[in-house]
Symmetry: C2
Subunit: 456 residues, 2 copies
């Protein structure tokens, strides 16, 4: 690894130049005006892989192109698949950026640009580590594949279709994804679990039209009242979700996990201060961190009914609707949640109200056992790259495409986040720390050799 | 009364002509483009009173003019004050009118025009009965005053100010208002009670900005969840409102009233069919009619929170708000409801959420005792005019200005509705039945002689 370390040191400026080149392409996937930029970014990626002598395909999809690239075969070595994305969020509101979003600028050791951390900068660490291997050792010590998409910010539809049809091409032992954050500055982390999601919209209909609340109030069932009652009944005063059987499949936190979470010395008060609340609530019997990462939850995401303008209108609304979603933990199944929710609504929807339930999307959560040899290899690599062992964390969010990859490929997922929690992902002044960029490239270079030591 | 009866018969066509003249003036109070029409209608009214030799004032207010007119003094006779309004609702949507809203047209015995029943046609019945008395007997048998406003459809602000400052000018024994409906075609009614109202908007604030429901769900209190829980907790499964002490001042229905309501042979199913629901809910232990007219209720009038667009957005909203209102019955006091609501919220608003309660407007309900001599006089007059005794009903709606008149003037309120429930008040193709118009004029003429018989 000495050669590689020296290569990395001597190429820091070049790596940064390449990152800036990619960041200058405004590959905004939500805006069709950027179609040409999307293609430019995809071709930039493909060229980059070709320069490493990777077998490279630019794959057309129903949406934006995918890049699939694989290095020289290494018989008997494990196979890793790096997943990332070259598309970025829109930069709005533009006037809140200190420097323009597509003119990468370094301040205080951070590079500021849309996509710096999400995901161009993070994804590129693995490309650059591969380059270091190829240009020093001639090839990688493992079978390495890249799958880079251009629709992560708009639903990954093309990737989903491709994944369904091409699982064998993508076959691997582990999937490496760097699109999350470290635990704290200077404290790298391995994210070994994500929550799943089950998202719904509930439409309640009462009378055929809005009625006068004076003439009809108290006599005709009010859908807005019914909505509040139904949603209110879904969760009790202890924060326990009341759908029948909801907790049956929940995998409890292990003692090792609870102790691990406690040892993180996570500061609850800091989180409350950050979001500016003076207290928090949630499922009783669990710490704030456990509730975020490893316990299911229910959030109303949107409410709409009746008169929402200024002032007072005495209306008994004809309709009321709510968007709400459950976060799920392993082994909860979104379809089982849907069935339970329907049973709950069938039993409780009051006379005079009909309901329609729209099932938006569901995705189970996943967890990689801490004993996984891939997790352990990644931990050793991080210790080499960051001079500090990682902590093991979970995330409250859901990345359905990751769950799908875990399921379809039967591979362990390594979520190795190089970002920071304050990187302004999806916000103005997105940034990525350049020291972390280089430490992550070093980690990635070590990861390939750590993986190479594993039996297949 | 023979002369008067003959006068009424021989003047039917003339009365209808006058009604049409007034209906042709598009005195829409919600639309400032109709300022000149408003004044034209006010002057039309004032002229009409002057022709009866009533002492007439066109009173300027902060908004549209009021007309106050009083007939010759009749010492030792009671004083009646007729209240009505010359302003009308806007006619939109125009293309749903079969004939233009300001070109009154007779079809099937009904006159179709904006304002036909609300309130030009109904109000005019008392003007025409006064005319019949003046032109046959030379004067009225009672002290008769008229107070006609032009802002009923926009909040009666000018009237409210005037009422506060001029109670002595308006002093009377009873207030006569014809701006409601009969119980059914051919079945006149006296409305002897209205519900009051207490209208609020509740704003809940949680985190400083919308959060990702994956990263924060289950940990940070969600204002939309809290709103559903709070609103859901305000009313129990039996339809009982849970604010502390809410029912303490409620005047129970008397046996006579309950029997009276039952004898109305009101068809619940017909109401459900009309609003197209298959069942209804409400406070247990009370009939649908009792719940509408004589029991308090709580209706959510509007809900708003989080993401309300198409599709799914995984947001933990920073804010949630609801508009909701209680209908009150005598002797409930809106201020006491506000205090109780605040106590309820103080106790239940969860940690991590702050609330702001906006108190829109409150007005108590009122009830005129069925034993009131004015009610009895009105009942006799109706029997003379309609050849059928009235039924005694209450209304679920609230007319704050009426409650204010009852309070400020200490007078019994006679709500004598000549309209029908299907008159399309506030809707296209508003109508008023011409037979009812003439029967109501006759009733009104009899009312003045019935009132004259009462002791003062």
């Amino acid at each position: 690894m000495t050669d590689i370390s020296e290569y990395l040191k001597s190429h820091e400026a070049a790596f940064e130049d390449d990152l800036c080149e990619l960041l200058r392409i405004p590959s905004v996937s939500t805006d069709s005006n950027h179609k040409a930029d999307i293609r430019r970014a995809a071709e930039w990626m493909a060229d980059h892989f070709r320069r490493l002598n990777f077998e490279t395909e630019l794959i057309e999809t129903s949406g934006n192109p995918l890049i699939f690239a694989s290095g020289a075969a290494v018989p008997d070595a494990p196979t890793a698949l790096v997943y990332g994305h070259y598309d970025v969020q829109p930069p709005d509101p533009l006037d809140e950026w200190i420097t323009p979003p597509f003119e990468p600028t370094v301040r205080d050791g951070n590079i500021y640009a849309r996509g710096a951390t999400d995901d161009k900068g993070q994804m590129l660490t693995h490309v650059k580590s591969a380059q270091a291997w190829v240009e020093t050792a001639g090839q990688l010590p493992v079978n390495l594949k890249f799958l880079i998409e251009g629709e992560e910010e708009v639903g990954s539809e093309g990737l989903e279709e491709y994944l369904a049809a091409n699982a064998s091409q993508l076959a691997c032992d582990c999937v490496v994804i760097s699109d999350t954050s470290q635990f704290a500055p200077g404290q790298p982390a391995i994210t070994y679990g994500l929550r799943g999601i089950a998202y719904y919209e509930l439409f309640l209909t009462g009378p055929k039209q809005d009625l006068h609340s004076g003439s009809f109030g108290g006599a005709i069932t009010n859908p807005a009242n019914a909505l509040a009652t139904l949603l209110g009944a879904m969760i009790d005063d202890n924060g326990k979700i009341q759908l029948p059987g909801f907790y049956e499949e929940v995998v409890p936190l292990t003692t090792r996990e609870r102790e691990g979470f406690q040892s993180l010395s996570f500061n609850d008060q800091k989180l409350l201060d950050m979001v500016e609340v003076d207290a928090a609530t949630g499922e009783s019997g669990f710490s704030l961190l456990e509730r975020r990462w490893a316990r299911p939850s229910l959030d109303v995401n949107g409410l709409t009914s009746g008169y929402q303008g200024e002032g007072a209108k005495t209306v008994l609304p004809a309709k009321a609707a709510a968007k709400f979603s459950f976060r799920l933990v392993p082994e909860q199944n979104p379809d089982a949640v849907t069935a339970s929710l329907q049973a709950f609504l069938d039993e409780r929807c009051p006379p005079g109200i009909t309901y329609e339930l729209k099932d938006y999307h569901g995705s189970p959560g996943f967890i990689v056992p801490l004993e996984s040899p891939y997790i352990k290899a990644a931990a050793r690599a991080i210790e080499s790259g960051f001079d500090r062992p990682p902590v093991f964390i979970r995330e409250g969010g859901s990345i359905p495409i990751v769950t799908q990859m875990a399921e379809k490929l039967g591979a362990d997922i390594l979520l190795l986040g190089w970002g920071q929690n304050d990187d302004n992902t999806h916000s103005p002044n997105e940034k990525f720390n350049l020291n972390d960029f280089h430490r992550a490239i070093k980690t990635s270079a070590h990861l390939w050799s750590e993986l190479a030591k594993l039996e297949t």
